[in-house]
């Protein structure tokens, strides 16, 4: 199987804090990869390195390489803006733009970059909202504010917004942690449908969620990658004792 993203000896720092320590991981194409581990183990930081969102934080640094289709995204000639259009991201807390309508939220990435063709934008809105399984719920209120819908709908709106710029990879940073079980189930179904077209990396606190939807699972602890493999293997016969302890709930 092809690897979409490969990290080589990836280190991430916040000032003096060493958050990600020499991580090597190969994210397979068109599959869902889950990253699990206790709070503060560097899961979010790891995926934020993959679309160069880590450097947005003050005092943050990265060393090592992140290869997207074989090209280093930290190459000096690589524009972070280009990387982020290829590698989309959905955050822990739904963050639709409050001053924009649902319609404008979906096409924010296109409109903010100067796209003005209404016919094209209309088509993108419909397609993206359908992909995010939100179309039927909001098609009659596209003019409503992006924050006027429920939390679960807002999160799917954020997924639609990320899909509208046609990325190849979708990074999700604990996308369901603020949602109830029904909204969570909807997002999980959605991710399952999306993996044919996209490479998906999801950070989650919820081990059941990883077991339900992920093809591959990585376990991180204190900034290091402890174990990575097929989800079934990680959950049923992990190689490391630490992984087994975490999976079985004996710490974390």
């Amino acid at each position: 199987m092809d690897d979409k993203i490969i990290t080589e000896d990836l280190n991430a720092y916040f000032g003096e804090v060493h958050a990600v320590k020499g991580v090597d991981i190969r994210i397979p194409k068109n599959a869902i990869t889950a990253i699990i581990g206790p709070s503060g183990c560097g899961k979010s930081t790891l995926i934020r390195c993959m679309n160069r969102m880590h450097e947005v934080v003050r005092g943050a640094r990265v060393t090592g390489r992140v290869l997207l289709d074989g090209k280093d995204v930290y190459d000096p000639h690589m524009d972070p803006v280009f990387v982020r259009t290829k590698v989309g991201m959905v955050f822990q807390k739904p963050n639709p733009f409050p001053t924009m309508s649902i319609y404008d939220n979906v096409v924010a990435g296109l409109r903010l970059n100067g796209e003005k063709d209404w016919k094209k934008l209309d088509a993108v809105v419909e397609k993206s909202l359908k992909l995010a399984a939100l179309w039927d719920e909001v098609k009659h209120q596209l003019d409503a504010s992006g924050v006027s819908i429920s939390g679960g709908q807002q999160q799917r709106l954020c997924i639609a917004r990320a899909l509208a710029v046609e990325p190849e990879v979708l990074l999700l940073d604990e996308p369901c942690s603020a949602l109830d079980p029904i909204a969570t189930a909807k997002i999980e179904d959605l991710l399952f449908d999306l993996k044919d077209k996209y490479t998906i990396v999801i950070v989650t606190h919820n081990m059941q969620q990883a077991a339900r939807i992920a093809d591959f699972t990585a376990f991180m602890y204190l900034g290091e990658m402890v174990e990575f493999g097929e989800t079934k293997k990680i959950f049923e016969s992990p190689e490391k004792e630490l992984t087994e302890k975490y999976i079985t709930g004996r710490f974390g």
Partner: protein, 296 residues
Amino acid sequence: MNIYERRRIKNTLASGLALACVVLALIPLVYILAEVVIKGAPALSWEFLTSRTVGTGEPGEGIGNAIVGTLLLVFYAGLIGLPVGILTGIYVSEYGNNRFGTTVRFFNDVLANFPSIVVGLLAYALVVAYLDVGFSLIAGAFALAIIMIPIVANTTEEALRMVPNSLREGALALGVPRWRTVLKVMLTNARSGIVTGSLLSIARIAGETAPLLLTAFYSSYWSFSPTEPVASLPLTIFRNYNSPSDVLLEQAWGASLVLILIVLSLNIGVRILMRPRKRKHKAVKRRWMTRLSRKT
């Protein structure tokens, strides 16, 4: 007496004290407003608002040229001060996470507390004397702009910092370049704070007197040229108050009332303009409704 009752009494006392302080703070405000209205209202007439300041205390005088002068001063000062102040605020908030940004922030704070007469002196030395423009509207506007800049910069920075970081990250993660993120997402969401700060600074400079003494000076005539001395409401008040004539004194109160009304109407006007509009959203809705109805 149990602990809950004691807490309740403490709570009542504390909120009562706070309320008393609010009333205490409002007394001078209400007093000044009432005084200005009572003493200034009799002076108001169409003639008063449209005639020029002659300064003799004869009937038929007014403050028309001073009103125009103050509006021109505020306009030119805003033309210089608002863009510089807002851009400084944007820089310090969005790009100023370094030593230079910290320095700018520090000097901004210093400048914000600078005595306005010193700013006037600077404008005098630079524009009036060194550039040899002489006492003029533009020198006055320059001095007022310098007073404006730190106020506008500080409130802009504050307003931008209030915008949740998640919105900035949301835009950046969509592959929107940093400058567009600042322009389209951050500024839109900080809009009301920035407007409030700008209004605050305009209200502040509209009443400045000391720096104008050294820069715009004074004129009894109608003057619209940027390079000529110009009359202003604060200086008219100042000059008339020093005169022995009762007519001129009444005119000073009238000018005070007009000054307050100008600042107030500016405030209210901009607030009405800034109310969120739904026009664009409605256009989207109309388009979609027709499309959806065609399909079904």
